[in-house]
């Protein structure tokens, strides 16, 4: 669908090897990808397939063993802390565990205030900053007045995850990486979080990359799906193509293992 759109992040032969000699593990094995602007991408795989390693490499938290990445069609250069900081203005992340995403000694106002300062609002007046924070909180259906002077641990898991999204709303990065953002919250809060992310994408045209093992979620939210097995992409394409009409045996197995409600769930396929 987004053929005409600009590629925001490309990867070529991205590889990560852990260990040496006999203990060598190839976690990510020469993968190529191309994320376009404004697209929602899901990377689906089981535990141990290397999706979190890839996630960390894209974020620049760990180095690649081999391969290249292109950010906005230019080779990505993140050597040194200053350049990394510059890169992180463009790419942000939401993690699986909302409880450990926040500094527990910092009040919520200052978390949001930091985001405003980082995104170039350092010289705004206090009133303007307050307005911005109120706007960000109301975007995620939180009341700013109720959050002031509170610490992160006073919120529920769903509220914290929404606060993470409020941060993203203030920072407006080009790419948002989300590592299983809904796996620790229950089904009805999940719908809220997903809707907010979709709304955020529509408003700011950011690219969202989901790392997940939930195929149902990938199908619902994404434009493009990459299926990962043992560090390699076995299949990729539009969500409709990959999930409704899978070609690779691995994808077929993954889909058959998910409980469904309109089709019979065949239990005989596992030993």
């Amino acid at each position: 669908m987004s053929d005409g759109k600009m590629a925001i992040l490309n990867g070529k032969g991205v590889t990560k090897v852990f260990g040496l000699g006999d203990k060598k593990t190839v976690a990510v094995d020469h993968v190529d990808f191309s994320f376009k602007k404004g697209e929602i991408i899901s990377i689906v795989g089981e535990s141990g397939s290397g999706k979190t390693t890839l996630f960390k490499m894209i974020l620049g938290l760990i180095n690649m063993t081999e391969g290249e990445m292109f950010f906005q069609e230019k080779p990505r250069d993140i050597k040194g802390y200053a350049k990394k900081r510059e890169y992180w203005k463009n790419i942000q992340a939401i993690f699986q565990d909302p409880f450990s995403s926040f500094n527990m000694f910092t009040k919520i106002d200052s978390v949001l205030l930091d985001c405003i300062n980082l995104s170039g609002g350092k010289n705004l007046s206090k009133k303007e900053k307050d307005e911005k924070m109120t706007e960000a909180c109301s975007f995620v259906n939180l009341k700013y007045a109720e959050l002031t002077n509170k610490y992160p641990f006073e919120l529920s898991g769903g509220q914290m995850q929404r606060l993470m999204i409020a941060r993203i709303f203030l920072l407006k990065p080009r790419i948002l990486m989300a590592d299983e953002p809904t796996s620790m919250i229950d089904a009805c809060s999940r719908a809220t979080i997903l809707d907010m992310l979709l709304k955020l994408r529509d408003e700011t045209d950011m690219t969202v990359v989901f790392i997940t093992h939930d195929i149902g979620l990938a199908y619902y939210i994404s434009d493009t799906v990459y299926i990962m097995e043992h560090g390699k992409f076995v299949e990729h394409g539009s969500a409709e193509e990959v999930i409704i009409n899978p070609q690779a045996a691995y994808t077929k197995r993954l889909i058959s293992d998910v409980p469904k409600i309109h089709e019979e769930w065949d239990l005989s396929t596992v030993s």
């Binding site: 089981e46 535990s47 259906n141 529920s156 898991g157 769903g158 509220q159 919250i185 229950d186 089904a187 009805c188 809060s189 999940r190 719908a191 809220t192 997903l194 809707d195 093992h213 939930d214 195929i215 149902g216 979620l217 990938a218 199908y219 619902y220 969500a239 409709e240 999930i243 409704i244 197995r253 993954l254 889909i255 293992d257 998910v258 409980p259 469904k260 409600i261 309109h262 089709e263 769930w265 239990l267 396929t269 596992v270 030993s271």
Partner: protein, 335 residues
């Protein structure tokens, strides 16, 4: 009608916090399960699912306290028993319980076979080492687990294998009721399927007589259990067969839950997910009227004042909503 394996009448339990405040986590819960049937319990986090599981066993220790109600396991009322007595006579051979992080409970310094030995010893069953091994091997093979597992330590097993081992060990005495609290939530889809298959086998081979399955994953419940019960703020709001509950929910909360189901099936992509706004009420001071009223799309002024009672509408279906069935049909059809 089959024989009732577990019957619970108006069970009420509470937590007492360290500030001596009462939190009514299970409030007026009645349920029953017949022989050979399974019951699923669904609901948001914090709605009392896990507390209900603990309360059903009759095994109370601080901060959980029993207030009132009956728990009848296979004709025997266990609600007044002391914790020690419950542990000796009920747990393991009448009710088996698999808590959420069960697979992390395996002692890494012992072999799997010694856990089985411990279970038997705790119930004063004396078996020679060889008999124990034979019995265990037979049971494990019947459930599709290799008998080599018995001689291994927990660290040598994968997550899915550990979980299946825990289930096999805890059902070794053929309990009448198995209570499984999120047994497959921490596993990937393939291991989850193996766990589910094993639980089905337990039922089919008669090792357990009935099962309670707690999870918030509705597609899973739909495929595993005969009946589904939805809990909200410590109360049961609706009960019915799995099919009725998923495709034709009655209570507005149950309806909201069913609308948040995501499955990878053709056509489901275009259906917009609907979220339930707001958060569950504080159970220290539950609302006087309907507990769901504040978040309900269909709430009327009366809903805030009068607490609705559970209504049995026949065919094993019951719900706790003031709207009549006719009115529900009418309201829902306009959407």
């Amino acid at each position: 009608m089959g024989k009732k394996m577990l019957e619970v009448n108006n069970l009420k339990t509470k937590y007492v916090t360290r500030f001596h405040e009462d939190v009514y986590a299970v409030d007026d819960v009645s349920l029953s399960i017949e022989e050979g049937k399974s019951l699923g319990i669904a609901g948001e986090s914090g709605c009392g699912k896990s507390t209900l599981a603990l309360s059903l066993m009759g095994y109370y220790f601080a901060p959980l306290h029993y207030i009132s109600g009956d728990i009848i396991v296979d004709g025997k009322n266990i609600s007044g028993m002391k914790p020690d007595e419950v542990r000796k006579t009920i747990l393991g051979n009448e009710i088996a319980y698999i808590p959420q992080a069960a697979m992390n409970a395996l002692n890494p310094t012992q072999k799997i076979i010694s856990f089985l030995g411990d279970v038997l010893q705790a119930h004063d069953i004396k078996l020679s080492k060889k008999d124990l091994l034979d019995m265990a091997a037979e049971r494990f093979e019947a459930l599709g687990l290799p008998k080599e597992v018995l001689q291994k330590h927990a660290v040598e097993l994968s997550g899915g294998m550990k979980q299946r081992t825990v289930i096999a060990v805890s059902t070794i005495l053929n309990p009448k009721v198995l209570i499984a609290d999120e047994p497959s939530s921490a596993l990937d889809v393939t291991s989850q399927k193996m766990v589910i298959k094993m639980m089905r086998e337990l039922m089919e081979k008669g090792y357990i007589k009935s099962m309670i399955f707690i999870t918030h994953e509705l597609p899973l419940l739909y495929n595993v259990t005969d009946d589904i019960m939805v809990m909200y703020a410590g109360q049961i709001v609706e009960r019915g067969s799995a099919k009725e509950m998923v495709f034709d929910p009655m209570h507005p909360y149950a309806k909201g839950l069913m609308e948040s189901i995501i499955v990878p099936e053709a056509g489901t992509r275009d259906v917009k997910l609907k979220a339930i706004p707001g958060t569950p009420p504080n159970l220290k001071k539950p609302p006087e009227g309907c507990r769901f009223a504040e978040r309900c799309r269909y709430a009327k002024p009366a809903c805030y004042l009068i607490a609705p009672q559970m209504r049995d509408i026949g065919g094993g279906r019951m719900h706790r909503c003031m709207m009549g069935e006719e009115r529900m049909k009418e309201v829902y059809s306009h959407e």
